[in-house]
Point group: C3
Chain length 280, copies 3
């Protein structure tokens, strides 16, 4: 079956590790359509992989299998999991890399508190990957992407039911996702989730979090103030703020890198105020 299988890893593209996974997949499902999401996740950076995946998976056809291998715990007792939603399958180590996917189905923000496993929201199913009959053999202790996750993804793309891979799980590991919150002065405080390759600063603040009217909003990042929201990257001069293509508030520089210009880093605070009207 010509199912789509996507790949997201921190392997880079220099060494052939990604290609080894693709070879294994094509040996099991020669008709698979393989699509790279990113292999430039920084080494072992689970939150980055989780975020990048979250901005992309919903654009793929129904029944796409998303294979995610950012796996600092490879060879240890951390388990592998398959998560099934109404539209897709995810195959990954159980280290929180699917947190945004779960959040998308939970319908509410997951605050800083719920550190670890939480019950799955309705509509999601998960199993642990425990049946070695569907893996390569022997399994290396250092490359489960090739020996376990890739063959599992390929078998899912062929239509094998989830129960063939392992036991049903009622919860999976989740990261504490940064959620915007008000500070004592009434500002909304979010943080930078991701910096893209254009140097755009993507914040944890979504469209629905913003006060109205948006023309009167002031965005503060590292001491810089931006008044009002733009609609396109081509507007205005200097720094601008807009709602980006994944519905997050984004800070951008018209002809340059907002990252280089502000020196901002992932995790830095972003403050949103309703302008009192002193400036228009």
């Amino acid at each position: 079956m010509g199912a789509v299988i996507t790949l997201t890893t921190d392997f880079g593209l220099a060494d052939g590790y990604v290609a080894a996974m693709k070879g294994v997949i094509l040996g099991i499902n020669p008709e698979a359509q393989l699509v790279d999401i990113s292999h430039a996740i920084r080494p072992q950076n689970i939150p980055e992989a989780a975020f990048v995946l979250s901005t992309v998976y919903s654009y793929f056809p129904k029944c796409t299998v998303h294979l995610v291998v950012v796996d600092p715990g490879v060879g240890t007792r951390r388990r592998g999991i398959i998560l099934k939603t109404s539209t897709a399958y995810f195959v990954a180590p159980d280290n929180g890399v699917l947190s945004y996917v779960v959040q998308d189905y939970s319908g509410k923000e997951m605050g800083q508190d719920n550190k670890q496993s939480a019950g799955l929201p309705p509509g999601l199913e998960a199993v642990s990957i425990t049946r070695p009959q569907l893996w390569r053999s022997p399994v290396s202790t250092t490359f489960h992407g090739r020996d376990i996750f890739a063959p599992v993804a390929a078998h899912i793309s062929l239509g094998l039911p989830l129960r063939d891979f392992g036991e049903t799980l009622s919860a999976i590991s989740l990261l504490p996702l940064p959620a915007p919150h008000p500070d004592k002065d009434g500002a909304l405080v979010g943080s930078i989730l991701h910096i893209d390759s254009f140097g755009n600063l993507i914040t944890s603040i979504k469209s629905r979090d913003l006060p109205e009217p948006r023309q009167k909003v002031t965005v503060e990042i590292r001491g810089q103030l931006i008044t009002g929201l733009s609609t396109t990257y081509a507007e205005g001069d200097g720094l601008l703020a807009l709602i980006g293509s994944s519905d997050y508030l984004e800070i951008s520089l018209k002809t340059g890198s907002a990252h280089a210009f502000t020196g901002a880093k992932v995790g830095d605070a972003v403050r949103i105020r309703r302008d009192k009207g002193g400036r228009k």
Copy 2:
């Protein structure tokens, strides 16, 4: 239909933006063969994207759809276009990124003068992309690659006629392409169009522009003189000049980077003289 769709962008491969476009395409045409041309175009560098595309598109099978998204004007009033040639389709913002393709069909150089829209040469057809029925909905203001250009390319690959996408255009935007010209001393003056990842300096001078005999040609770049043309990268020592694989005069260093060695940049002048015979 298993049509080929190529992708050329300045998105990089770290963020998943390219993958989002691929997901959208595969949702419309699951049989599409997706091929990356380059996603390492420098941000918003339209001339670079135009050049890289021009060196590659003619090697693809008939009816390939080339999707090009280097789009600093995304969300503004710049229009999107489809260009159809005798062998291929191109889907892109109307910002000049298809200038070399048009030049290939116009049979003459486009000098520094014709800045903007010129009439299309015979054999080419163009339409504006104006019918939202074939787009994703809603359309973001910042990512037309995903929401407009990718679905349009996918629908073209399924065989939809051009008129379904918008109105016929009699002209499209063109860049002023650097054309070699004689200087007052009779030398031919070209410029560096592109520096490849080996550090080869690819000039605007084509094979047909060179005086004969080529063994007596002297090439000057940033004060360095190269006498005679080589046939392969493995010849001689130091800098050498040869006709590269896209028929442009190229300056190369046998075991190293001509870019690093000369310090040359895109746009730097290259002078060609017929050697008077002082050296042979």
Copy 3:
């Protein structure tokens, strides 16, 4: 036929050179499954390409065609070759880039001595690429990847017999592959073959070369000592040594780059001693 064709080059992904090869292949075999192994081989680094290919090719389905273009001698008299094994085809310049593949079939190490062509081990067949009827025309002098190797790989993937491409060869060029050897103190001396993008140092010492028991082995790299072998990257603190996913001894740093930490380079010596029991 939906055969898999892999690509390994030093072209990078910025310039469109790889895409030109893919376009040529798809013009000949529209059903080919194209998989990139690596295009980040350092320019003209034949040993690196040979190593990366060797860690990947065996994971691909039977009859995969592996196209390898790291070709400093392009346009000179170096010949092109096709090598056929029991499970795969390889298309490459005859410059040693297939040395590890030949070694895998020869069942013994190839020491520092056998510099050049050696007879092929049983089970392997090779032909020279000499019949221009199956190439693009005209053939450039600088890009045989596009004009010769890509069309040849595509025609092989369609099932053409080897004899259609050229004459049978009894030997091909081989690199001297670094083989571990004992020093006068009884230590086993190997060297660093490859540094991956995580900064792991992959040595020339294979699992079978190690003395037992492995818990008592001491690994020395640039003055640093590592006692005992680990099973996973997550064990211990600081530097660790383990058998990596391609069965080579590998030196790694738990949360960082062993490359940056040790300053080691490809070719540096690695010494293995059986610990006398002074430390346990």
